[in-house]
């Protein structure tokens, strides 16, 4: 006797004949819910090939077409739930906000470039007085438009501040140690690049160190160029502010501490202020000898 668990219910077979079953008839909602709640084992290949026939025989559906249609409805429901769950995680919110900051920056850059070109054009026209007369704007909205561009840039900058503020709050809640060590924004970028706090927590320090430097890393692997010393974490003031020849070492220490911070944040969220103190001390030590040598 064998009991198999399929997406539409449980079936008991004896000598390959169905002797008992507990199936959900054509009820997509109930089936999707069961898929979410229960554990399923693998199916033996001999039964896998008979799924459609068994579903029809048990009256779950009336035809092969119905079988596909019901399965598809269930699968879409289930997939939507999984997607919603993935995006409802707090780190998903952070990733969304980081994406928002990048979009805003890009928009501000574009609009600013446009405005600059606009100014250059007007300057050129104003230099030649006869041009200024023949090329006077045809519409009265023209000067106002330029003003609106400038205002939009202002508004976007405001939005950027608000977004950054929201990131700070979210980061303090889900990643206090990353926040204090890397700063909220850089910490959030690391989470986003890793694909979530959990992935970051599982990453080796060596990978965190070069994260965001993929182009450089690729060149290193492909052409044997010098390995990149720092990716995203290069933005950190402790690294950026240190002597060039010490940056690699400091970045390595930083990556190691960040890996620890991410793990603490993922598993317990307890604040561990020593991390920052250790990092600052180590950075001072690493930066020093170079200065002495120069003296």
């Amino acid at each position: 006797m064998t009991i198999i668990k399929t997406w539409f219910g449980e079936i008991e077979l004896h000598n390959d004949e169905i002797v008992h079953s507990n199936v959900l008839k054509a009820d997509a909602d109930a089936i999707a819910m069961r898929l979410q709640e229960e554990e399923f084992a693998d199916l033996d290949k001999q039964y896998r090939g008979r799924l459609r026939q068994m579903a029809i025989q048990l009256g779950v559906v009336t035809s092969e077409e119905d079988y596909i249609s019901l399965l598809r409805t269930v699968a879409i429901k289930r997939a939507k739930e999984q997607i919603a769950a993935a995006f409802a995680r707090p780190d998903a919110r952070i990733m969304q906000l980081i994406g928002g900051i990048d979009d805003i920056d890009e928009s501000i850059n574009l609009l600013s470039e446009r405005l600059l070109e606009w100014d250059i054009l007007e300057f050129e026209i104003s230099r030649t007085s006869d041009l200024a007369e023949t090329h006077a704007p045809q519409s009265t909205t023209y000067p106002a438009l330029k003003h609106e561009f400038a205002e939009s840039i202002e508004r976007l900058s405001e939005m950027r501040k608000k977004t950054a503020g929201a990131i700070e709050l979210e980061m303090h809640a889900i990643a206090p140690n990353l926040s204090s060590l890397a700063g909220e924004l850089l910490g959030a970028r690391l989470i986003a690049r890793a694909g979530g706090l959990e992935s970051l927590a599982r990453m080796p320090a060596s990978k965190i160190q070069v994260m965001g430097a993929s182009k450089a890393l690729f060149k290193h692997l492909q052409f044997g160029a010098k390995p990149p010393k720092h990716g995203l974490i290069f933005q950190h003031p402790l690294i950026r502010g240190s002597p060039l020849n010490k940056r690699g070492k400091i970045a390595r220490t930083m990556a190691a501490k960040l890996a620890i911070a991410a793990r603490i944040d993922f598993y317990s969220k307890k604040a561990y202020p020593e991390l920052v103190a250790q990092m600052e001390k180590r950075a001072r030590e690493l930066s020093k000898p170079a200065i002495r040598e120069q003296v």
Partner: protein, 208 residues
């Protein structure tokens, strides 16, 4: 423009352009009832453009691993009877799900193909298609072929040499991957996808 059927039923050549029949889904060009299928956007299109003998048939059930947002899946649904489309990244799976709502014969599944937990959903498949671009791709293909491919069924596995070993020559990587696949599958042929994809190859195999 001349239209001629490709050797794979359901695929057409419009002059030198590959196409399937159906409504436009992702912004591809349409001529009458035909949707153009660019080899730049789909490794399967690149394969079909280079090689007409691909064992795809209208009645087949396909298990597709690494469906991404569904570009290739959307053409495949014009060719075969049913596609089980597996993708694990929620971000791209969102587009896949949206696309599945257009087609009667796509079943989207969000899961990790390395640890298949869709054993209670997917039927026995006639064709396993895989475009995963991961170092573990041979392992993924073997696991899934073992669980889901029927005896006599086919597999088409896209190998991206660089995601397995950046330092080795692509040909050496294909060889190594083929060797791994031979554990379970009979290798029929290996087609490089140049010039459409650098250092990519399609392995076509059969489960005896």
């Amino acid at each position: 423009m001349t239209v001629r059927p490709h050797k794979v039923a359901g695929v057409f050549m419009l002059d030198s352009h590959l196409a399937t029949k159906g409504e436009a889904i992702y912004g591809e060009k349409v001529f009458g009832e035909y949707r153009l299928w660019s080899p730049q956007r789909s490794k399967l299109a690149a394969l079909l453009k280079k090689e007409e003998n691909v064992p795809l048939r209208p009645e087949q059930i396909v298990l597709y691993l690494g469906a991404a947002s569904g570009t290739t899946v959307s053409h495949l649904t014009n060719i075969v009877s049913l596609v089980y489309a597996v993708e694990f990244a929620p971000r791209v799976a969102r587009d896949l799900v949206r696309m599945s709502e257009h087609f009667k014969n796509v079943v989207p599944i969000i899961a990790d193909a390395l640890q298949p937990d869709y054993g209670h959903i997917v039927e026995l498949a006639d064709f396993l298609y895989q475009d995963i671009a991961q170092p573990t791709q041979a392992e993924i293909a073997l696991t899934n072929a073992e669980m889901f491919l029927r005896t006599g069924g086919y597999a088409c596995i896209m190998i991206k040499a660089r995601s397995i070993d950046v330092t080795a020559k692509p040909k050496a990587v294909y060889k190594r991957e083929v060797k791994k696949l031979e554990e379970l599958l009979d290798i029929m042929c290996v087609h490089e996808l140049e010039p459409f994809y650098k250092a990519h190859a399609a392995v076509i195999a059969r489960l005896a």
